[in-house]
Symmetry: D3
Subunit: 142 residues, 6 copies
Amino acid sequence: MPVVEITHREEFAASHRLHNPALSDEENRRIFGICNNLHGHGHSYELEVSVRGPVPGRTGMVMNLLELGRILRERVIADLDHKNLDLDVPWLAGRITTAENLAIAIWERLEPVLGAHEGCRMHRIRLYESTKNRVEYCGPAS
Amino acid sequence: MPVVEITHREEFAASHRLHNPALSDEENRRIFGICNNLHGHGHSYELEVSVRGPVPGRTGMVMNLLELGRILRERVIADLDHKNLDLDVPWLAGRITTAENLAIAIWERLEPVLGAHEGCRMHRIRLYESTKNRVEYCGPAS
Amino acid sequence: MPVVEITHREEFAASHRLHNPALSDEENRRIFGICNNLHGHGHSYELEVSVRGPVPGRTGMVMNLLELGRILRERVIADLDHKNLDLDVPWLAGRITTAENLAIAIWERLEPVLGAHEGCRMHRIRLYESTKNRVEYCGPAS
Amino acid sequence: MPVVEITHREEFAASHRLHNPALSDEENRRIFGICNNLHGHGHSYELEVSVRGPVPGRTGMVMNLLELGRILRERVIADLDHKNLDLDVPWLAGRITTAENLAIAIWERLEPVLGAHEGCRMHRIRLYESTKNRVEYCGPAS
Amino acid sequence: MPVVEITHREEFAASHRLHNPALSDEENRRIFGICNNLHGHGHSYELEVSVRGPVPGRTGMVMNLLELGRILRERVIADLDHKNLDLDVPWLAGRITTAENLAIAIWERLEPVLGAHEGCRMHRIRLYESTKNRVEYCGPAS
Amino acid sequence: MPVVEITHREEFAASHRLHNPALSDEENRRIFGICNNLHGHGHSYELEVSVRGPVPGRTGMVMNLLELGRILRERVIADLDHKNLDLDVPWLAGRITTAENLAIAIWERLEPVLGAHEGCRMHRIRLYESTKNRVEYCGPAS
């Protein structure tokens, strides 16, 4: 069976502050620059999840893209949209909310669900923080 | 002389919370919904400023678009980017930071400078809060 | 009170065929070209609705943009998305489903609801048929 | 010689219905959801083809991107644009026209032509069904 | 009959240099800045033309958008795409090729053709020089 | 430590002409087509640079994306923006300025700087010449 990669994209609006409480204020400013602003800032994030799997003749689909969208909205977007990433999201607690760490945490939250779809495996999380900056994570094995 | 409209666009990343302290918590939740989230949220805003004016033969320009960009960055973006709109911006103090109020405040901040350019008048502020939502303000006379 | 214009955007995926049953097949082909293809074709439409109104100090909003989105999805998108515009939509029956006629029909469907919001008036329907082609309708008085 | 990947993008507007005639109506509704709508629906598809190859010093090009565009338009877009994918395209006959199957069929249609270019090999078909959903196919060997 | 505005968009890739030969080199540098670079620079321009007119019941169209696109490509894009705007375009000779002057010249080139369509009038030329900068011209009467 | 890929995007506006002086005028026209236009043409290029590396717990970042942007602007954009690629850029001298050759030259210019960041390696240069055409280069080892 041919193997195809499918990708679904959603948006969320959130605020955060880059700050490591284990470091001094001066070190935080040096490392995180304007992203360390005391009262925080925010982004309209764009989030993409990619799944790879075989295409059975019976359905012609790796999995239904609308179903992939539903899982993404229920497991991730509902928790992040119109929220403060540092204070409102239990599964981000204790992490510096850089784009890199967000991508890793979102992978960990989706992989158990999407990896259980027959024959599929989760392939990539891509997260846009703005039109200029994005990150990608392909899991611990990559 | 022909009259042309020129527009420059910039982005900024900011956080805010929609909340009117004169109202009860319940009324705030009813009016502002998820935008009233206690710890705030954020957006990648896109901001456009439009100026109209005659095109002199000597320059072929209403005004230099790179100069318009410089004014926008110095007078507005520098104050808003990577900031909390409710707490970090003196010229927004006391305003509920809806997209509508932001557009009005940005107009008031730019008009004295841009309206002073020879023959020009400021025409419009357009502010995108996300790819789905935007507002426009054309000044008090419109 | 300052007057501001707010705009919300949604997408829908639909099929249609441009064909006037009162004309001959040859005339239909001449007028509508490839859009007259017997078995139809389709588009990912982008639809924008704009409302103008005063901004009261109590809310700082013309109306809640999320509420405007809800009305647009319930009154329009739910009827058009993943549908055949010629066969599946009662309020388009008897109309040639050009972008122009779609914009007019969507205006007529939304104006009674949006024009009833206190102090507001509906200002514009903008409909993108593709990244290259769009239409705008500002109502019968424009 | 350095190896570079080049990509060309085109759009097409088409209608389709997801339906497997070997299954019951109920199963079709369960599997394909709103995409099974009896009279079909449509999309503005974006299609990308990627080719990899060495860059000779004489031309500085893997192959001319304008030539790649011409091949894509002649071999694929001309057959799909403003068409019903289920009824109008001989080389899609008998396939459920999911994005996955479209990508595979387009690969099979282009690979014999593009793989014959000196030193090149076709690398990827990417197909956007909307701004939210896309698929990628990298051939049977991938 | 309802009046609707239709808009078609095309792209072209061109080079130019902003320079007024009647001024000194120093004045040119002061007025045009980096756009005065001796060997020129270039842009991927996006050009939109808007036409307004009544929508007859027989066609449901102001004019066929594909026909509007054909006129735009034949009368304007064919002359500007992959050209040097200062040296290769007879109808731009003697003009400083600012975005403002380009928009005016394109209006003058299209208006005699598009204004002759029954009941239509040309409404606007919008020209994007980049994602950040654009101009609009609505004709001498505006 | 998890490995993540980060990408920063910038734009530049430049002119060029595709022409190999070692070939006849006729051969140049045959190979490069409209891109061989005597007086050149131009593009609004979009340039992306991707870096891969581990994410230390102390910073949560591969490297600061704003720092990656600064390096890209200082080492590449400052030399290319509002320039003629054939005449104004010492490190492009002697190269046919195709998108392929630009991507290779930009890789060579950035790799010594970005590959020196602790634990990082440069992964990809992606260059858009227009919305339709792009190239990617992943280095000599790929």
